[in-house]
């Protein structure tokens, strides 16, 4: 499923906003973000999720990062407590979110 959505995003059949319309999620594309940070997801004090994408990375990577963050929102964040995930790139659930998108 994730792979089909990814292909549709890359091929332009779907936009980020088509997907976000189904959820209560906002999207921000930030152009001056450090190249070390591909994206992030944050839950605001009003309980809205915001996905932030690095505007300087290529569109295909943006699509992958977008689905990666969406996967966190759907599968990890509802059951997680307090979380500030700096330097999470080596954690298994980060890798797991990538694997799901590739599958």
């Amino acid at each position: 499923m994730q792979k089909r959505i990814l292909d549709s995003l890359i091929n332009g059949y779907l936009s980020f906003f088509d997907i976000l319309r189904s959820y209560n999620i906002n999207l921000a594309v930030v152009n001056h973000l450090s190249s070390n940070i591909l994206g992030m997801v944050y839950k605001t004090k009003r309980q809205n999720y915001v996905i932030v994408l690095n505007g300087n990375i290529n569109y295909e990577t943006q699509c992958k990062v977008f689905l990666h963050e969406l996967y966190h929102i759907e599968n990890h964040m509802p059951s997680m407590g307090y979380c500030i995930g700096l330097d999470m790139q080596h954690l298994s659930f980060e890798k797991n979110s990538d694997v799901r998108i590739k599958a």
Partner: protein, 141 residues
């Protein structure tokens, strides 16, 4: 997605390099309990989970967060980044004040997709973005 409580508990004990006997002895001495080796065995085999007050002591003993100990999160200690963030924005009073309030939110959730460990400059940028998101949401409501 994560380990069970028993698996986490066992791996934390092994990380300390001690036997079940040594673990229960250290824990009982520190917190004045009378647990036995069989309790540890029950925990490690997922046959029993301690009561909440005891669970909190185990988290303190292993110096990990409760969610990590229970296998609900891969983040070992969600509070360990506080100081690092504060240091990264220490020369910006407004940002620091924002962060001091933000970090106290019990439902704070913030996760990144990154390629390298974050520098202080990266951290500052992130806190600025979060502040902008919150400011915009405040303005809309």
């Amino acid at each position: 997605m994560n380990d069970t409580f028993g698996k986490r508990f066992k791996s934390l004990r092994i990380e300390k390099g001690i036997t079940q006997d040594e673990l229960v002895k250290q824990f009982n001495e520190k917190y004045f309990y009378n647990f036995t080796k069989s309790s540890i065995s029950m925990y490690e085999n997922d046959k029993q989970v301690p009561e909440v007050d005891v669970l909190k002591k185990w988290a303190e003993f292993f110096q990990v967060g409760l969610d990590f100990l229970l296998g609900n999160s891969d983040i070992r200690n969600p509070y360990e980044n506080h100081e690092r963030i504060s240091e990264s924005i220490s020369d910006d009073k407004e940002l620091l004040e924002f962060w001091e309030v933000l970090k106290e939110r019990e439902d704070l959730q913030l996760m990144f997709k990154q390629t390298k460990n974050m520098s202080p400059k990266d951290i500052r940028q992130i806190i600025k973005i979060i502040k902008a998101i919150e400011d915009e949401e405040d303005a809309q409501n």
